[in-house]
Symmetry: C2
Subunit: 120 residues, 2 copies
DNA sequence: CGCAATAAACGATGGAAATCGAACATGTGC
DNA sequence: GCACATGTTCGATTTCCATCGTTTATTGCG
């Protein structure tokens, strides 16, 4: 492993990835959290990601994210370090990932119903 | 025809909308198509949208999109014209809708699945 | 006042996906 | 070699949701 370059899991060419596939991958709350964690940490593995599901489920989500083009996974010994394909995603879908990662959480307000006009 | 202002269906305040909710709404292919059609046409109703599902299903999707903050629906007679809340979405999630609406379809590549043999 | 048109509300159903546990594979270190 | 840690894969289960047909409500029109 010392004198050898990293090996990577197969990943799709982003030119052949549809934006609907990416949105589908990001629609799951756990996967969205994984994406945010990876953006903050740079890299992460199945066991280091702090998500409220079991390891087998995390593995499934990481596979989904990788097959949708969002992640790149490199094999280091016994662990698999995944990272966001941020630059490539930015070239393929400019502004998409950035807008999601920089999105602020919703404002916590008690009374909410904005009704522009009377209904009945 | 009357001198009365339009009435609108209730819609959420975008400040209280989570980006995950929007991604969830956009993850469905039919809803993504509806969003694109509305972006192109400006406005549309349940019967004018060209989607491959029944009207009741379109109604359900329009409701989902409206409750996620993506659509505003105004009542005109017995029809309901929906439009994208594009400007508000741009302020709440800068770049998100734009990146999705301007996303190019995946590149169609001719892939030879056979082994690279001699060209006969 | 009926009648057609538009669309939402309702209930049911089929299929897809998330989740889990167990089994299996692989690499690490003693 | 053996025990342990890390992850994937498989099968089963369960939950969610897209879809549909029907019904209900409202509007517009004769």
């Amino acid at each position: 492993m010392l004198d050898q370059a990293d090996t990577w899991l197969p990943q799709p060419d982003l030119d052949q990835v549809d934006v609907g596939t990416v949105l589908q991958a990001l629609s799951d709350p756990v996967r969205l959290r994984i994406v945010r964690l990876l953006d903050a940490a740079g890299e992460g593995s199945c066991s280091t990601l702090d998500v409220p599901v079991k390891h087998s489920t995390v593995s499934h989500h990481l596979r989904t994210l990788r097959e949708s083009g969002l992640l790149a996974t490199r094999l280091v010994g016994n662990t698999r370090l995944s990272r966001l394909r941020k630059d490539e995603m930015e070239r393929r879908f400019p502004g998409l990932l950035t807008s999601i990662l920089t999105a602020t959480p919703p404002v916590e307000v008690l009374v909410t119903t904005e009704t522009p006009g009377p209904i009945s």
